[in-house]
Symmetry: C2
Subunit: 287 residues, 2 copies
């Protein structure tokens, strides 16, 4: 890709450090700066080769950057984007949060003071890389985490076309496919494709009696795998997509009720039919 | 292992053919005979190296065998075990069915005529290898499918200790860990460790709107993977473990209701707490 001068990554966890690694491996930026609150993670990110420079000083890290990518849990993104915009007005900012509607809505109308103290809009366009791992932290970062994965970019009506194009170029340069969606549409789709599966995996894991654990095989292991994700992080994600998630949960619960009725009434053809519909949908996607 | 003379496998699908492959690779039997209804599967099993001899003639295949393993869908196991016992009274028979209580109960009291026409008990002890794949058929068979997997053997009060020991030796010889459980206890445990995850994976897949499918990532893929299993086969499994499955579903639905309440009331700590319990349970097992 056409190289960026300086890209600053705020939050060097799994996603942030993986973006840094990919940028450095692919020479996508002359300099990658990592910002975090804890020197431990920052040192791990630098040891891992994910950043050229690491600091806890957000202000100094973002001034003059071409692009700032905020890779922190969804609950802190709005605050940090405002801090970045205040420290370096006019710098293009994106994020890697799993929900977008709340974040985009809040930042779209927010203003920060420029050097002359006048309120100016924030130059933010949201992103969501559909990649991750149930293991957290920079130690698990991988330069190929985004390869052949999808990144959704969620511009609003106020977004400049040139900024959206810059983000397409940025994510594409890291090996990802880039899709543009409205923030609310993104959240509706992700409720079913990501947030509900997490909720259900957690519920399945939690309600498995201890005596069953020695007998689990690949079915249980696959179905519950994402329940190992960070509880606080996932709590923030689910709560920031409440309405769409509840609608997805409604659909699932109706389906579970259909299974229950069919099982209680011993209706073999009905249960086979329900399974066939699930299989049909699953087979569309492949393994 | 101490070698068997002839082991006959009834049903050369994924599990049957994998058992045959393992037996032949590990020289666990002098001869492995495969029985099926369709020459296509039988030929595939022989081409795959899973059996020495393949036939559609059940009677001829089982007479004189040391051990017969019935590897067909749960709905046909009782009938086939009776056929095997009738053709070769006194031969030790086991199965590979995913539920055990119904099968063991029916076979425990059944009698078949011996050569003199007298009713004799069936020499059957149930087994359940906790291994599989969402892909079916002998083409996907693997000689290491049972390696380091658990096989549950479910003797009844009538089972001879020597037969249970023979089955331990048989499954252990294929690389598996062997556990002994009562058939009803097996079914109670498997309801949560296998059957409910299948039901939930299917419900999740089926209720995912088509528009979401291009945006699925590892979370959805893992959580719904087993929904690709054979609908008819899974319908039989779920219906043969109705009571235990409904109890597991009750627990899951209560948990989903707790999530719903917490999300609707925007209770962050509550949702984090629910996730923590799921993570704790999932982390016990590992990846």
């Amino acid at each position: 890709m056409k190289s960026f001068e300086t890209v600053t990554i705020v939050g060097v966890g799994l996603i942030g450090a993986s973006i840094g690694l990919a940028l450095r491996e692919r020479k996508g930026a002359r300099q990658v700066v990592g910002v975090g609150r804890h020197m431990g993670s920052l040192r791990a990110a630098r040891t891992r080769g994910a950043v050229d420079r690491a600091t806890t000083d957000l202000k100094r890290a973002v001034v003059g950057a071409d692009l700032v990518v905020v890779c922190t849990p969804v609950g802190s993104i709005v605050r940090l984007v405002k801090e970045v915009a205040t420290a370096s007005p006019g710098t293009l900012i994106t994020d890697a949060g799993s929900t977008k509607a709340q974040i985009v809505a809040e930042l779209d109308t927010a203003r920060v003071p420029d050097r002359d103290g006048r309120g100016v809009p924030i130059r933010f366009v949201g992103s969501h890389p559909l990649a991750g791992d149930h293991r957290a932290g920079p130690r698990h970062a991988r330069g190929d985490l985004l390869e052949d994965r999808t990144v959704v970019v969620t511009p609003s009506r106020r977004s400049a076309v040139v900024d959206v194009a810059t983000l397409h170029r940025f994510w594409h340069g890291l090996g990802a496919r880039v899709v543009t969606l409205g923030a609310r549409q993104h959240d509706r789709l992700l409720a079913s494709s990501s947030h509900l599966p997490h909720l259900v995996a957690s519920a399945l894991a939690a309600t498995t009696p201890d005596a069953c654990l020695p007998l689990v095989a690949s079915g249980w292991l696959d179905t519950t795998r994402v329940a190992a994700g960070d509880p606080q992080l996932w709590s923030e994600i689910l709560l920031s997509n409440r309405d769409a998630l509840i609608k997805s949960l409604d659909r699932l619960e109706r389906r579970l009720a259909a299974f229950r009725q069919g099982i209680e009434a011993d209706r073999s053809r009905r249960i086979t039919g329900l399974h066939s519909q699930g299989k049909q949908k699953r087979d569309v996607v492949g393994n």
